[in-house]
Amino acid sequence: MSATGETTAARRDWPGLAGAGAAILLGGWMLHEASSFSDFAAVFPRTIATVMIAASLLLAGRIVLAPAVRPRAPGGSAGRRLALVAVAVAWVAAMPVAGFLAASLAGFLATMRVARFTPWSTRQAAFEGLAALAIVGGFYLVFEWGLGVPLPRGWLV
């Protein structure tokens, strides 16, 4: 242990190794796909895939042979992170069905809930709810009417 109490022992960079493995797989797949391309279209993917595989092999070798300090583990709640991704996916999936306005209002409110760490008071809930309505509605008006961007329509406008 160091004077600051932090662990100083080097640990293998398992996430880095996984990244290198994924890059090797991606490069291999690109080389396989490139075999069916014309010469013009294949030369660049082959070059990049080869460089990527070579760099990934070097990285994997370095990680295995000379253990490095593992990247810092993310702090905070993994559950909230997953919940945010789930909300974003649902938001995007709902847009063509429910329309931009309804999907975005629901997505916005759900994201607010994910980002909230303390319970709302009635006053806070009313204020932030109105703010959510104003922000979503404001952006909708700016894009749909101001900039002429045709946003998805559904149950609601």
Binding site: P15, G19, V114, F139
Partner: protein, 497 residues
Amino acid sequence: MLSDLLAALTPLNLLLAVGGVVAGTVIGALPGLTATMAVAVLTPLTFSMEPASAMIALGAIYTGAIYGGCYSAILINTPGTPSAIATTFDGYPMARRGDADLALTLANLASVAGGLVGALALFALAPPLAEVALAFGPVEYFWLAVLGLTLIASLSEGSLLKGLIGGCVGLSIAMVGTAVVGGDVRFTFGLPGLLGGVNVVAALIGLFCIPVVIDLVAEPGGHMEMAESGRGYRLSEALSEVRGGAWNLLRSSSIGTFVGALPAAGGAIAALIAYAEARRTSPRPETFGKGAPQGILACESANNATVGGGFIPTLVLGIPGTPPDAIILGALLVHGVRTGPNLFQEQSAIVYTFMAGLLVSTILMLPLGLLLGRYAYRSIAAVPKTLLAPTILLMTILGTYAIQGSGDDVVVMLVLGVAGWLLGRAGFAAAPIVLGVVLGGICEQGFVQGWLIGGAQEDLVGMFFGRPISLAILAVIALTLLYPLLATRLWRPRLAT
């Protein structure tokens, strides 16, 4: 000529310049809404104006939009326009440590300085610069992209190999869709939505912004360090930084002007090259990427200098230097202004009034930008996280959708964002990936076209390594890559003794 220049100062033209800068800045600050979109959306409003006034309005919108991209780059790590990609490298770290106000003021001063250099170059150097720009062939573009890719070395955050792999991943993303040469459909998984490729703006919004939102909701702390109250614009600190980096500013503005004059190169490449040069020549290169003020000066001066630079081939040759220039070129045709070699003889009054208007708009950006920047900073800093996180998510989804009205782009943005967060956890930084995405198209097109032409001439080596401009760019690439080694192994020990 003097009367033409003074015509830019009529109350109407000044009002149009103010309105254009404000509108452009606000649109440019919204992720997904590029300078091209700002100009395109507002162009119809100019059809009823006099040609010179219309050009002033469009120039002001364009220059404001390029500048506005720095707000979201600094405050939420999402470049408002692709030109502001490099601004995130040091702007966001500065915001995180409580120096967002200083970063915004630096970006403003640099944008004004770069814009002025570009506009003055348009005045003084338009014809000779346009000729040099025309001498650029596919191979020169290829080497220019490679020069941009050398920046991977400085963006790798501790592991060059991981940066290199990240760059290759970015280049692979850029290859998705129909091949630029040959027309083959590549890496689309059979999805029609990917036939046109991965949109660069969607990719950079996903890779930069989604990881920020994912981490934002995970912890109860604030979004950024709050600055001490009453620090104002921190103009004296910023001016001191500008004085110390005057050469950096001039060099970056010159790079921006020149790259802007190259058709299809654009502000993102200019800013990346200027950033790489600033880092290479800095006495403290290790501070870049961690909140170095000189990094912001380099990229913001370069990207705004592309505005004046881009107008050089647009006005002199009728070849648009950047995508917004192409739209402005179309607007000029509507107004009966025919660009080309004879423009300066036949319609000099309009051209000189426009050039003066561009200078005025750039100068107006100083007070307007400072005011808007302060408002943006206060807003972002004061908004509670429960509103900030969903607002950023809303802006990313809406901004991505608005690029071409496609839900597929939004899906791609989300997928890349989540992948970017996972890769970030494994130590693969987002910046090299974005670099590959941005430079991939121009790099491949230049490489394959050069290969074809060289093959047809049976002189591949001469094609890639025998042309004067290519050799000059290669020399800069070699210097960029070898400079750290030379500096530590050869020069600094000598200096130490």
